[in-house]
Amino acid sequence: MQGLIDRLTALLSDGTVARVIGWKKGDMAYNPEPHMFETAESLKDFVYDGFCGANLSKMMIEASKLEGKTAVCLKPCDTYSFNQLIREHRVVRENAYIIGVGCRGKLDIEKIKKGNKGITSISGTELDGSDDIKIETIYGDKNISYKDALLDRCHVCKGKDHMIFDEVWGESKDTADQERFAEVEKIEAMTPEEKFAFFRNELSKCIRCNACRNVCPACSCRKCIFDNTKFDAQQKANVVSFEERMFHIIRAFHVAGRCTDCGECSRVCPEGIPLHLFNRKFIKDIDKFYGEFQAGKDPEAQSPLTDFTFEDIEPGERG
């Protein structure tokens, strides 16, 4: 990590960039926060470890408007989001200096906390850390394997390559060990009643905090339709039980074809709702109906849902 800090310090000092978007050390073992560093001195608080799961590409929307270049640390999967934001003209490529940071998968603190309360320290989560991480708690210490504590999204990793970067720091690892669409297929195999029960059970937990929307790089509208005060419904409460489903389904439709499957929605949900499943179902269907497509792979590529071709599937056809 010191190598990365040194490099960022150099970039700031020689004037290549005016600021750095990265992660700042937390006050606990596992809570670094996204941060904009403006001085070389402040980089002493920079951190990059297994808990830096946050996708920083969306912060470039605001940073693009600032004077000078911004160095932004992006993991391989974050670069897909960045490309998609370029395609949607929400970030300015020239204003970003992309450090493609290596990644060996990021950790899910909720998984670690299960059975480990009172955590005082977690070690070995750095990029060059060990296969096992050491968890110290006031109730006792434990070692668990890094792999077992990965975020679900890392088990369907899109690969170790950065789709866009100015330079790369650190080695990445492809952590995929599960079929990307296995969860979706499991739901597809359910009867309509079972599907409805599954989603109702999950979505009834929704507290309408909008964290999924606000963190989502595809949700970059300047003003969200749900924030419209002329609305009868509220963006902050489910007026009728139908609404808790409606909000998430509308959002999934809105990001269809643009969602890169970065998994931030599920990572931030305070109620642990597997929101990515909606998006992944759309991705699976797009692949099937329009040919394989990965949003954010290539900012110049045509998008299946916004570009018309005569081969397009007709409404009502199921392929």
Binding site: H35, N214, K236, V239, P270
Partner: protein, 368 residues
Amino acid sequence: MYKIAIKDLNTLFSKIAEEQELILPIKKAGQYNFGVYEEGCDIDGILTNKTVKSGKDAFFPQFETLYNVRKKITPADELENGEEAANTKIRTKLTIEAEALKDKDFVIFGMRACDVKGVEVLDQVFLTDPVDNYYKARREHGIIVALACHEPEESCFCTVFGIDPADPSKSKADVATWIVGEELCWKPITEKGEALTKKIESLLASADDSAVDAEIANITSIMDKLPNTKLSLEGWGKGKTDEKFNSDVWQKIYTPCLGCGTCTFVCPTCQCYDIKDYTTKDGIQRYRCWDSCMYSDFTLMAGGQNRTSQVQRFRQRFMHKLVYFPDRYDMYSCVGCGRCVDKCPQSLNIVKVIKAFENEQKEAGANV
């Protein structure tokens, strides 16, 4: 003091639920949230896991209807007077049906000392003039059975606000309970608590008051070891508005804030709400729902006021908890439950805010 074997808790819950509604933490789709007890609901792990939301909903639900306005239009041919029949305004009758106030007792089991203190915070707002009838009715009918925190977590810091998680009998709860080995100790505190205990006495065995001493000592020593319980509130509280409001620390720390409502919705003390009309098929449903000072439309006025940037919204939340509320009610409106610490998507929280100001002070001191 009474006790019951933890393995018999389902029998106890079922007995309580026979006579009144019982609200308790329930495990659903992997998460713990307060909900209404039903036969067969999953209560595995509810004694030791923190709920996502605090149980505040039992007294102040996230969404509630205040009243319904219904429109009835008498068909023209039912009116004898032709002139009346031709006038739609005359034919339209509006009726207003106020939502009934809570009129039955209910029990809420499993709130922690911090959650109960949270209710005390809400009391300041809703039970003082003008009294909120909907809230008052729920408070009068609610019987709080609080549970001592058997396994406090690293995000907990209630002791900073003078709350004792080891002994809920010091809180405003009606009954205090403790996990002691394989048993749950049960101690009624108020009249309401005594009355509830009487109803379930057949399931309880008597126990000595000292049965919980070891558990209290144990929890107290755990709290001492937790990282956030040493937090200092120096510089916060009454009369600090100008100093804190005008600080440039806010600008330095707010940037990662997504402006989502997670912290406000999992908070046991956030009490801001919005009132809106929902047009239904035959009228209007006036409802209120929790609002969040993190949202861009919070207290939005026609002229585009009140707070126009996220840094102002961010500042508002913490100033409210740590300065404005103490100014007005002589108590902090943070209870140190740690839910925002656990749940903020960007890992920002009130502890980090307090620490950031503390660091700033230290640095300023060093530079003098």
